[in-house]
Structures are given as C-alpha cells and as structure tokens.
Amino acid sequence: MHPEDLAEKAAQIRAETAAIKREVRVCMAASCQSSGAQPVLAALADICGDGGGTCHVKGVGCMGLCSAGPLVAVADKDCTLANAVLYRDVTPADAPDIMQSVCGAPVERLRCPTEQPFFQRQQRIVLENSGRIDPDSFKDYVAVGGYAALVKALSEMTPAEVLREVTTSGLRGRGGGGYPTGLKWSTVAKTAGAQKYVICNADEGDPGAFMDRAVLESDPHRVLEGMMIAGYAIGANKGYVYVRAEYPLAVERLQTAIRKAKGAGFLGARVADTQFNFEVEIRLGAGAFVCGEETALMASIEGLRGQPRPRPPYPAEAGLWGCPTLINNVESFANIAPIIRNGGAWFAGIGTEKSKGTKVFALAGKIQNTGLIEVPMGTSLRDIIEQIGGGIPDGLAFKAVQTGGPSGGCIPEQHLDIAVDYDSLKTLGTMMGSGGMIVMDETACMVDVARYFMEFCMTESCGKCIPCRAGTQQMHGLLDKIAKGEGTHADLALLEHLCEVVQATSLCGLGQTAPNPVLSTLRYFRDEYENKLVSE
C-alpha cells in the first residue's frame, strides 16, 4: 500500500459520511463514564435517531476537563474541541435541550466556555484526536489521517530514515526518565539478534496520574501505529502492551483496536500489503507499581515474579527472554506518528532547547480544573496552574505542586515561574515523571505529604533489596512519628541519613527515588518538620 492509496481510503470514508454536518460528541473516557456519561449517550442517541442523516451522536475519548464531566460537545464535523460548544455536568434529562441546540442557540445553563485558557492555551499533538474520534472506530482514525505515518514509513522510508527522524525530533522518553528516544531506538536497532521485541509500558501507577489511561482510552490506534513504526525501525516483529488490569476500559478499547487493525490488514502478517509483519499482544499487570520498572515489567511478561534485576545488561542488549528489546511509554509511542508525518524537524521546533515537543499533564488535587492537559515543554508552572488550571478553589492560597509521583518532589510558590522541562525540574529536586501534577493549597501539611508517598513506596517495594524493603519502612515510621508530633531532632537526622543510604544503594528506580518526596519537602519546608519536633 502507498500513501496515496491510504489517502484515497480516508477520502472514501469521509465521503460516506459527507452528509453529516453536525456532531454531538459525548466523552466516554473512564472519568466521564464514572459520573454517568453512558445514560447521557443513550438518551442523546435515542432522541437523535438517524438525525435526518445530517446529525450524528457518538462516544469519543477524553476532552480533558474531567472535573466538569459528563462532557458533551456539539460541533461541526471537523471542528476541534476549542471551537466547539461544550456542555458540562450533563444528565440524561438535559438530552432534549442539547438536541434542540444542535441546529439552534446553545443551552446557556449547561455551557462550559471553551474560550477559557484551559482549552485555548493547550497545544495538542498526543491528544489531537482525543475527544474528536470514536476510539472504537478504525474508520474514524483513518479519516483523520491515522496510519498515514505507518504507511509512509513502510513504503517510502528505510528503517535508518525512520531512526533519523525520531533522533532529529529530540523526543525524550515520556515515562519520566527522559532518555532520548532516538538513541534508545538506534541502540536496539544496532544490537544483533534474530528476534527483537517492542514493549509499550502502560503500567501507569503514580498516584494522581492518568495520562496513559486517557491516551489508550481515547486513541488506541495511535499507540499501535507508534509501536509498529518502532518495530519497523528496529527490526522487531512482535510487540507487547503491558497495561495494568485496573484500566479495564483502556484494555477493552485496545483489544478492539487490535482486532480492527488486524481485520483491516494494518496489523499481523504483511502489514498494509508490505513485507513487514507485526503482532501485538496485551499483557495485564496484576497491580504492582514496581512492574513499571522495565526489568520488573519484562520479568512479569515472562511469567515470573515482577521484580527488577541489576542493569546492565540493559533491555536493548538482553531484554525480554534475553532478546534485544525496545521499551517505551504510551505517550512516547503516541508521539511517533506525528513525528513521521510532519518530520522530526517540525517536532524539534516545539518546546525548549533540550526537551522537545509537548507534554501531557494530569492536573489533580486542589485546583479548579482537574483533568488532562497538553502543553508545549517550557510552559511555566504558573501558567499551568493559574491560567490553564484556573487556580486554587475556595479562595485559598497555593502552597506547592507535586510532580513525578512517588519519585518526584514538591515545588513551592517561589519557583512557579520556572519553564517546565526535564532538566529544570531536576534542578528543583523533583522530576518530570510521567506527568502527574498534584496541587496543594495552604492547608496541606508537607510532613503528611511525605509520609503519604513513603507509605506508597513502602507498600509497593518488591522486597528484593534491603535498603528499599527495610529502609522505606523505617523512613515511614520516622515520618509517622514526626507527623504525630513525637519526633526528635535525632529522628530527623536519622531520617535524612536513611534517605541518603536508600537513594544511593537501592537496586532499582523505585528505591533510588523513594526518598525524593522527603528530601524535597525538607528542602523547601524544613520549618514544618522542625516545628513538629519535640526537644529530647
């Protein structure tokens, strides 16, 4: 298949639905579903019927503003979310009014203004189709240019050219570490091996993070497309998506996507009528945070106990079943199709000097607009929280924002103007992580925050290495003692020593970064710890 053939196919799909002028899009991602989107969709579809052939009700992926769900957008067919009429907190009883508004004036009482920064300040690359297409529809994806990048790579580019574009793009691993994706791909491509694997890490486990879930629920084909392009570039014919079992909807949509892509000849043997073969299998994680660590993840896929092993050898050299393996996060793969479509240089033009492209963040905690946003790298934290996020509710003052989950740290008010990228966050003692942002107001106790994350690490430690297994427990005990107002100066000194030992000696990233929440809160809020200490 050539790009023109696919373009023709896309045009054909668009022609089939050319009569439909207006769309009623109902968010069917996990968050809106949990606030009752399913009956809303049913009620709207019931009233709409066939819509006279000009109107169409459909379920779509995440629209971002999860706190206002269930969300319904009424829009012209190819209209983006920022230009649509958006309704918030919709119930089935609102369905008649909304259907009335399709060809008339908007329902003012339900309006959620899209002129606000939350919608206007975003730049959507990863989420470009999210909230627009039906994630279960293969045709929808192709109609908006889906699989064009794959066909372009397979028919017009050599694997080396694909590698060059990804390297040029400057994309860095979106799982948190920020390792250059092009370098990782090239390493696996250069490693000799008859069998190679591609793994998509969808074991998103940070508290307050749901970027990968939203991508899988809203645009699963995009992830498959990224994986296949990776497979072509490095010479792999088999991929695994390791997704946590706590994401049933994401798993279901991914299964549908795999089935439909296979049925259409875009997955399996002879992908898009070329010599390239690629199979994808889903593996469910059984709820262990440590399985997001790549060596533990691979052990889990192999059917072994999910615990990490020392590196090197790195997965690029000896990964799954000892074969060279490429392992990337969901969001990394979701960036690949646009990079191939528009060229690496286009992607490299977005973002900061060392961090290119956009980043999806999950806003949670004490913030007006909780939900999912995508902004260019280099956007300031203040913009994200005060403009896009809408600031702190209830007239309270901002205190800190936690990034990077249990491996990250808290950033106080005085550093809010920093431009967010991998390196700037590191200098502040935290990290990008996968993109969770938990905002805290003035009522938050930072010792409590540190204790919470330490408890998380303690219960999620696999138990293999002593510093992480016993160290996190001791640190949690000390934090608990301090939080209760029973800690002494000696306890605080011991806590800091344990932080140092656990950070320096733990086997994997979980243990090595477990002290970060403590260290960062100590760095910026030491007085809160000291005020709780009792004199010996």
Partner: protein
C-alpha cells in the same frame, strides 16, 4: 555464576581495586576479582556457584568517574576500571544496611543456633555495628519445624534467596520461592505449605548449608552448634558447567 575452567575468546583486562594493580578476565564480576585477590568485600546474597541476585546491596563499590555506586556482584570488570571498595561513605552505608536487617526481624545472637558461625553476625562485627540506631520492628514470625531433618525460622531470615537459588539451580527441585512483597516477603516451600509436606523437597540440605544465618538449620541443634559448610557449591557448579 561459576564458569567452566576454559573459556575461549575472553580477553584479560587490567584494573585497580583500592589502588592495587590487578588483572582479570573480562567476564568476571568485581566481587569475583576481589575474592580472588583476598580483598574483603561484604555480601550476604552473593555466593560462588549461584546466579547473581544483587539484593543485599552490601557489596556496593565506587567507580572513578561515575557518580552512582555499583553492586560488585552484578558489575563486570572493564579495562582501566578504578574501583574503591572501602571509602568512609561506603562503610557508613554498609553499617546502616546491616542495622536495617537487624531491626527488621528477630536477630538475637545469644540464643541463636548459628551464634559464632553466622555471616550476618560476622559482617556486623566487621562493619562496626555496636548498636542499632533504627527502631526494632518487634514483629513475630512463625517457625516451620515440620521437616524431619531441618527447621526454618523466619525470624532469622534475611531474604537473601540463596536457598531459593541453590534449590532451583543446583538441586533442580525449586521447592523454595518468595511470596508477598516489601517487608511482608516470606520464603515459602511449594505453595506456601509446611516444609515437611512438600512434594518435591529432596531433603538434600543444600539450602541449609548456603543459608547465611540461623534461618535454615538442622533439627536438634542448640545455641552455637549449627556450623555450615559451603565448599561443595563451587565444585558442584563447575562440574555441572563442564558437562
């Protein structure tokens, strides 16, 4: 893992450990070179003849030019490597790790069958542990005396998995494994059933001999009587490889 005697095509490299010039095969790990040259390097999970585990983190060493520490048992030597095994920082870390182990379960040497022959006790003395700064957890663990020849006392287990590995890799029975996670980890026989009822335990006793503490011992031993012999392991492992 013990290697067969002759391996073709392996280069020899030179390196320094604590400023001593040494040579080594490039497929050797730092800890193997240290042991060959009588450079004391503490470890509780590594054992010549078993696969690399990398769990006790006591063998962490410093490499010049690298910011992070490396586990000597899991890091291969390389040409020109400059390794330091005994810096003040490493000594502090090792001491803390041993203290964490002592506080985790019940390690009361005075009443232990392995008193005087225990690797944990010996390392604690070597590393200058004169008291434990972190609070003792005081959790009680069960003792499995169901096996007619041996006994497993979870209170003295440090989860080094030597028993798991020797049973799987040398004896080929895989009676032992680990269940749970974090501090709830526990060594189990078969599907967490009493050792004495295990279907596949061959009663070979290898696990007892490789256990560094008094967790796995012979029945009928009293305080200080349990002396272990691990010399069989490298010999057996090399013969297996030669076959």
């Amino acid at each position: 893992m013990a290697q067969p005697a002759v391996i073709p095509n392996v280069r020899v490299v030179t390196l320094t450990i604590d400023d001593r010039d040494l040579s080594a095969r490039e497929d050797e790990t730092i800890i193997e070179v240290c042991r060959e040259n009588h450079i004391p390097i503490p470890s509780l999970c590594h054992l010549d003849g078993l696969s690399v585990w990398g769990g006790c983190r006591l063998c962490m060493v410093e490499l010049e030019g690298q910011a992070r520490l490396f586990a000597a048992c899991a890091t291969r030597v390389a040409e020109g490597m400059r390794i330091h095994t005994m810096s003040e920082k490493l000594k502090r870390y090792r001491r803390t790790i041993i203290e964490l182990l002592f506080a985790e379960r019940h390690h009361v040497c005075a009443v232990c069958v392995s008193n005087g022959h225990c690797e944990l006790q010996w390392l604690a003395q070597k590393c200058g542990v004169d008291h434990v700064r972190v609070p003792y957890r005081q959790a009680a663990y069960p003792v499995d005396s169901s096996h007619e020849m041996f006994r497993l006392d979870h209170n003295r287990c440090i989860l080094c998995t030597r028993c798991v590995r020797v049973c799987d890799e040398i004896e080929g029975a895989h009676t032992w494994d680990i269940m749970g996670r974090g501090t709830d980890c526990r060594v189990i026989s078969d599907l967490a059933q009493p050792w004495g009822t295990s279907d596949n335990c061959t009663s070979c006793g290898k696990c007892v001999q490789v256990c560094p503490t008094g967790a796995l011992v012979k029945q009928g031993t009293s305080v200080g009587e349990m002396v272990k012999d691990q010399h069989f392991l490298p010999i057996l492992a090399r013969r297996r490889h030669a076959q």
